[in-house]
């Protein structure tokens, strides 16, 4: 089934069908985004599935995904459009003999010579798309200001050509790791969604969805450990994707239980810094050795 989300429930179930278990607010906001035609600003710590949400929305609605990955120094030429100057030069050279300047000028600033970059592509396609502007906080404020026109009116002004208006309304998701405060102007144009690490139960469902063969007991223990690891002061806390990876790894290894030994052998899947590894081994590994985590499970 494709097309717009009809209700909140519809949004949630269709996202679940494509492998994304959306929380209460995530389902509601994606539904509203389609209804109101507004971009969504998704914020939250790294690895909670912000980018994945956009991919899931594109799969669930049957729209194709256009992704603009932001980085420091991203400019209009790479995000919006650029004139294909090589082609323009060739054109000028082939026409140099006969044609007057007037003809050439009218000629070389046409759509034929325009290289469209993600934003222009998203706006000018005939099929509705999902536009993902990833890690918007990595760019500078100037770029944000440039986005405003695209996000509020869904149009792009090209000085030499005029205004390109959207033929269909793209579903826009912007993600941010909150490494920098975004401007008020940008926020005002967006719906806001804060994604956080899921609760133990929800993450268990997620793990179960992606690694269904894993034993229920092991999966629960795994998720509890991941949550304990996240509570430590780490350089990079484990993401949801990493707990899924870990679950799959345990499956491959045929682990019967998550004990201290298994944790120490496989924890490089969820922890990626040397200093973090030591910390996790010290804090979590020892608790596992004492069997404290098992106790908590029975009590909770």
């Amino acid at each position: 089934m494709t097309g717009e989300f009809e209700t909140i429930q519809d949004a949630r179930s269709r996202l679940a069908n494509v492998g994304y278990l959306a929380g209460e607010s995530a389902a509601l906001v994606t539904y509203l985004a389609g209804k109101l035609g507004k971009p969504v600003l998704v914020e939250g710590p790294a690895g909670v599935g912000k980018t994945e949400l956009a991919k899931a929305v594109s799969r669930a609605t049957g729209r194709s995904l256009i992704r603009l990955q932001c980085y420091e120094g991203l400019d209009e030429a790479k995000a919006l459009y650029e004139w294909n100057y090589r082609k323009q030069l060739l054109r000028i050279q082939t026409e140099a003999a006969g044609a007057g300047w007037q003809d050439v000028r009218d000629d070389i600033f046409g759509e034929e010579f325009l290289l469209s970059r993600p934003l222009l592509t998203a706006i000018s396609t005939d099929m509705p798309v999902v536009l993902l502007i990833d890690e918007i906080d990595k760019t500078d404020q100037e770029f944000e200001a440039m986005l405003l026109e695209v996000l509020s009116d869904f149009q792009i002004s090209i000085p030499e050509l005029g205004v390109v208006e959207a033929r269909t309304r793209p579903l826009v998701l912007l993600t941010s790791n909150n490494s920098r405060e975004l401007t008020e102007a940008l926020k005002r144009r967006c719906l806001y969604l804060w994604l956080d690490y899921p609760s133990v139960d929800r993450e268990l469902e997620i793990v179960h969805l992606h690694a269904p063969e894993l034993d229920e007991q092991i999966a629960r223990k795994l998720v509890e450990i991941v949550h304990m690891v996240r509570a430590l002061d780490l350089k990079k806390p484990p993401s949801i994707a990493e707990s899924i990876d870990w679950a799959r790894a345990l499956l491959l290894l045929g682990a019967e239980d998550v004990d201290q030994g298994v944790l120490e052998r496989t924890m490089s899947i969820i922890v990626k810094h040397r200093t973090d590894l030591d910390l996790v081994a010290e804090r979590v590994g020892v608790k596992l050795g004492d069997g404290l985590i098992g106790q908590q499970r029975q009590a909770g």
């Binding site: 004139w83 300047w101 806001y192």
Partner: protein, 455 residues
């Protein structure tokens, strides 16, 4: 637009709610209000969660705003319902059987309900508890006091944090707070019924506004702000001066520009110069007069080490000592503070800061390394304990370095009172700031950026 927004009367209510949000510092614009009204058109009103989430998605644009909105939402719609009740003269038959209640049975049921986290049951039991409590006198009249008195009478206490030892009597802290919230609500409701009027809405207390936090989170906030600081320092605009000769021509952009002149490259475009990596010297006062601030300072230092490679850090009391390698070796913040407390060897005999001596020693250590690219940041209260401040020595440090900033943990009001000699050092600095919270640290980072545009 009001016609489009469901039952009449919703739009004005929403405006009132927006007003209340604005009073609490959430910037709600007209366009956001319109969005909220449209959003409420699209969701069902019967689900309280959907209603609240829709408002949150359209009105609150950060996590802090979201928290304020949640708190206000509860209060606002509670008050709206109560006002309606007062206007229409509705009262509830109050539960009168309080005298016959078995307190022990009630206590057990409440504890169970709190553990199970069932919202409706907790509310009912809150009423029962108030009724049971009522027979022991009508209460103090101050709701906050009554809530705590009821909690104590019921013998409810929160679990010890950490969760290492399971306490059979304890209940989860958040749930207990929920229950207290219910008791508070019910008491307020009874008070409104008695007096037939709504108490005036009070602004939120700082405590309610603040997001629930822990030391690790505070640390991560400092880290976030310092990451901004790095960006600001790195893009500091001193790279353009007097070095045009060594610039490289950017062929692609030059060709592109030449199109406007028919393919003749009249205007040369250059490759942008990458800024050089800043060198940072941070001096941190760890004496007793700044004890409360020094944890904050050390966490700033800790965060700086995460971000900058060319950073040398020093701590001082009477003498100065370089601790760069301590920060580089130790990752955990606790270990760093412990190491500094034991091995830095900065306190001599008295334990009082001696700024003058610190400058002399610092200059001696780094005089050959300071150059105009380096930035010196001092974290300290400038209290010399009556010793010679040696401001001219500090001046030489500042001269050698490109920029010097001073961060003082005391409010500006206290500067230059007593033994504080901030005025002696201030002229040598490019900027002095009062700063003891992450918020002010952000202010410092922004101020640096503004200094740059002014220069």
């Amino acid at each position: 637009m009001p016609e489009a927004s469901g039952p009449a009367g919703m739009a004005p209510r929403l405006l009132e709610f927006a007003d209340e949000l604005r009073r609490e510092g959430v910037a709600v614009g007209t366009s956001e209000l319109l969005d909220a009204i449209h959003a409420l058109d699209a969701v069902s009103w019967t689900s309280r969660e959907d209603f609240q989430e829709s408002l949150a998605a359209t009105l609150a644009k950060s996590q802090e705003d979201r928290h304020v909105l949640d708190v206000l939402f509860d209060r606002f719609f509670f008050r709206a319902v109560e006002r309606e009740a007062v206007e229409r003269g509705l009262t509830e038959t109050r539960f009168r059987g309080g005298a016959d209640l078995d307190l022990d049975a009630l206590r057990d049921r409440i504890r169970e309900a709190i553990r199970a986290g069932s919202d409706g049951e907790m509310r009912d039991l809150a009423r029962l508890a108030i009724a049971a409590f009522g027979r022991q006198g009508e209460g103090s009249g101050v709701i906050g006091v009554d809530v705590q008195r009821i909690r104590r009478t019921l013998g409810l206490k929160a679990e010890k944090s950490g969760g290492e030892m399971l306490d059979p009597d304890g209940v989860p802290r958040e749930r207990l707070q929920e229950f207290e919230q219910h008791v508070r609500r019910e008491l307020e409701r009874q008070m409104i019924e008695r007096t037939q009027s709504l108490p005036p809405a009070k602004p939120l207390r700082e405590f309610d506004r603040a997001l629930p936090s822990n030391p690790a989170q505070d640390l991560s906030q400092v880290h976030r702000v310092v990451a901004q600081l790095k960006k600001r320092l790195a893009s500091h605009g001193r790279e353009h001066r007097g070095r045009r000769r060594s610039w490289q021509v950017d062929v692609r952009r030059t060709m592109r520009a030449s199109l406007q002149t028919g393919g003749v490259p009249l205007e040369l475009k250059y490759r942008p110069k990458r800024p050089r990596r800043p060198e940072l010297y941070v001096l941190c006062d760890v004496s007793t007069s700044v004890t409360s601030a020094s944890v904050f300072f050390l966490s700033v230092l800790h965060a700086l080490h995460d971000q900058f490679r060319k950073l040398r850090s020093f701590v001082f009391v009477e003498r100065i000592s370089e601790v760069t390698d301590v920060f580089e070796r130790e990752r955990s913040f606790e270990a760093v503070s412990r190491r500094i407390a034991t091995d830095a060897g900065v306190a001599d005999v008295s334990g009082y800061t001696d700024y003058g001596r610190v400058w002399l020693e610092f200059l001696d250590k780094v005089v050959d390394d300071l150059d105009p690219r380096s930035t010196v940041i001092v974290l300290g209260d400038a209290r010399t304990n009556g010793r010679e401040p040696h401001a001219q020595v500090f001046g030489r440090v500042a001269q050698g370095a490109g920029r010097t900033f001073w961060i003082n943990p005391e409010p500006r009001l206290y500067w230059n009172y007593g033994d504080s000699v901030m005025a002696a050092y201030e002229p040598h600095c490019d900027g002095v700031f009062e700063c003891w919270t992450t918020k002010q640290l952000e202010g410092f980072v922004n101020a640096i950026a503004e200094l740059r545009t002014a220069a």
